[in-house]
């Protein structure tokens, strides 16, 4: 019984890691540019499809396929920022939400036209076998997502703390005007954060392939990242990780113990948390001057 529970928790954390990654991508863009990126799910779906095409049709080795799709996604992310959202700086939030939704719809439909709306057989990323860890069994796919999330968090931590560009990004997130005055290329920082976010989404999508099948409706999985990001507090990177893990855990435990409400339980948890703490778990209460 306890072992079963632990195994469910492990699988939940595995799934939650993917949500956490996508939420990370979401929060990075929000922190840097205050744009609410509803195209996150679409970006997450596009990355693995690029990877799939490169490996299956162009016979790239897997590592090269991953690398090339990451580079393509980074360029796409920066391009979206430069050519669509840069002109919308300072517009009301509703406009920006709808603009990113439109971008997401376009990516979705183009992907659907190219690859079809049915699931496709993706190349095998890692052999499907069970991993035994201190008495509980986890599938290799879930282990992979947890490892990738941990590695990415460490890399992001080093990037933000110890590189010049990372610190410039932090400064921009704090106060754009001052950052501009200090000679930071604010536009470049915007594009860079979009690129990083797209890369993270791409990685999230690729490690998601063994868990869910590869199809255009993966975008809906990306939709779960918004509750995750909100749950943790929008402007907090640790919050995104914790929020993603919580959403993944609730979803997995609910599908095991309360299958009737498994689809809505993450949202119920979200609303309950927001009722108690409106700015999310790690969010900062922002005071507004009148």
């Amino acid at each position: 019984m306890v072992v079963q529970l632990l195994e469910q928790i492990g699988a939940g954390i595995g799934l939650g890691s993917v949500y956490a990654l996508v939420a990370l991508g979401f929060v990075l863009i929000y922190k840097a540019t205050e744009v609410v990126n509803f195209a996150t799910g679409a970006l997450m779906m596009l990355g693995p499809f690029l990877f799939y095409s490169l490996v299956v049709f162009f016979h790239f080795p897997i590592w090269l396929g991953i690398a090339v799709s990451i580079v393509c996604m980074a360029m796409l992310g920066a391009g979206i920022d430069r050519f669509i959202l840069r002109g919308l700086l300072g517009e009301p939030m509703l406009s920006i939400v709808l603009a990113t939704l439109a971008v997401g719809i376009i990516i979705d439909c183009v992907a659907g036209i190219i690859w079809g709306f049915e699931p496709v057989a993706a190349p095998e990323l890692i052999p499907n076998q069970a991993v035994r860890l201190v008495g509980i069994t986890l599938s290799s796919a879930h282990t992979l997502t947890i490892v990738v999330l941990t590695l990415l968090i460490i890399m992001l931590f080093i990037f933000f703390r110890h590189t010049k560009i990372g610190i410039a990004m932090q400064a921009t997130a704090q106060n754009q005007f001052s950052a501009y005055m200090m000679g930071i290329n604010v536009g470049g920082v915007f594009s860079l954060s979009w690129a990083i976010s797209a890369v993270i989404c791409c990685i999230a999508g690729i490690v998601l392939i063994p868990i869910s099948s590869l199809h255009v409706h993966m975008t809906h999985i990306g939709l779960m990242a918004f509750p995750a990001a909100i749950l943790g507090g929008l402007s907090s990177i640790p919050g995104a990780v914790v929020g993603g893990l919580i959403i993944g855990l609730t979803e997995n435990l609910a599908s095991y113990y309360f299958p009737l409400i498994k689809d809505s339980l993450p949202f119920i948890v979200l609303i309950l948390v927001l009722m108690i703490k409106p700015e999310g778990i790690f969010g900062i209460h922002e005071r507004k001057k009148v």
């Binding site: 205050e34 939400v97 709808l98 603009a99 439109a102 909100i230």
Partner: protein
């Protein structure tokens, strides 16, 4: 140049600033009345759809345009209205008119519950919370099979008032138009009354309006309820028109469509809802014409129309964020000031993005 002088308080709360506008309204009503005589059945069905969309647009213009609250879950209120109206008529045997108002009431109740998070949440948090609520409501509708028929859907009897059945296209058209006109009058009056101006103050600054003695809690919750009431009425009308509803009619994409409607129509005024409603019902036709002009190999591809919608939306947000209504105001301004119009009048101010101070 036409400048309307405002001398006293009553000048500010007039329905129209110039009396000639009443004539335009009368002309429009006459036009609406005669459309069934020269429009075909298909055109009438488009106009009826535009009517549903207009009511939804009014609901969102009150919520977003007037009170500044954002809802990503309006399809849920629409769905609640549609389902409850259907259940009232077919399972409880209530007359249609009563069922429609009651279903608006049910949607209003749901809206009041959704309004509670709006007390503490702002902007994006509120948007995601309403989205979460919409997903929960959608899930409940799908799972509660004994009442809603689950994914198999429900068939809805045609609307009838006192034995008169609205079974043909022109009959239903008149029914919808009467309700559209009533809801529009209500919305216009809400906008200019004290209630509406309190909401506008709330939109501009919550803290400042609180300091002016506006009961923020009451206004925020009640506007959610009112907006949901409108959406419920629209849903009820839609259900009786379509004759068959399933949860797939009320997805997240529909909520987004509603937001697109008010952005394209123009957020600020009642006219925007009408223009947005017309846009939403006519745009599939426009896209069909565009697709026919494209080279043959693109024909019949699923998803092409959605790409067009998204591109049109992006164009609107980037170049004309005030929508059709804003475009109309600009044209009017241009002719009013004809020789004196300056090029940069409507140029956007360049803003720095982050407005909050930590």
């Amino acid at each position: 140049m036409r400048i309307v002088l405002k001398r006293e308080y009553n000048d500010y709360i007039k329905v129209f600033d110039r009396p000639i506008k009443w004539c335009w309204v009368a002309l429009l009503l006459i036009l609406l009345f005669f459309i069934p005589f020269f429009g075909g059945t298909y055109f009438l069905s488009l106009m009826t759809m535009a009517g549903f969309y207009t009511i939804i647009g009014l609901s969102l213009i009150l919520l977003t345009g007037l009170a500044g609250q954002i809802s990503l879950g309006h399809a849920a209120f629409y769905a609640v209205g549609a389902y409850s109206s259907c259940i009232f008529v077919s399972k409880l045997g209530l007359p249609f008119l009563l069922a429609m108002i009651l279903s608006g009431g049910v949607a209003c109740m749901v809206g009041l519950v959704v309004g509670i998070p709006s007390l503490r949440l702002k902007d994006l948090y509120l948007a995601i919370a309403t989205m979460a609520m919409a997903f929960i409501i959608e899930d409940v509708i799908t799972k509660w099979e004994s009442l809603t028929g689950g994914t198999f859907g429900l068939s809805v009897p045609p609307a009838s008032i006192g034995g008169f059945v609205f079974d043909t296209e022109p009959k239903y058209y008149y029914l919808v138009m009467v309700i559209v006109v009533i809801t529009m009058m209500l919305a216009k009056n809400i906008q200019r009354s004290g209630y509406g101006r309190a909401l506008a103050a709330l939109r501009e600054s919550e803290i400042a309006s609180q300091a002016m003695g506006i009961n923020v809690t009451y206004y925020k919750i009640s506007i959610f309820g009112l907006s949901a009431f409108y959406a419920g009425i629209a849903g009820s009308l839609y259900a009786h028109y379509a004759g068959f509803i399933t949860p797939e009619n009320f997805t997240f994409l529909l909520s987004i469509n509603f937001l697109i409607l008010i952005i394209v129509g123009g957020l600020g005024s009642v006219v925007g809802a009408v223009l947005g409603g017309l846009y939403m019902s006519l745009i599939p036709e426009g896209v069909k014409i565009i697709t026919q002009m494209l080279p043959g190999f693109l024909e019949g591809i699923i998803g092409l129309d959605l790409i067009f919608y998204a591109l049109i939306l992006l164009a609107f947000i980037s170049y004309q964020p005030e929508g059709f209504h804003g475009l109309w105001l600009k044209m009017k301004f241009y002719w009013d000031h004809f020789p004196l119009y300056k090029k940069g009048t409507f140029r956007k101010e360049r803003k720095f993005y982050r407005k909050k101070i930590k």
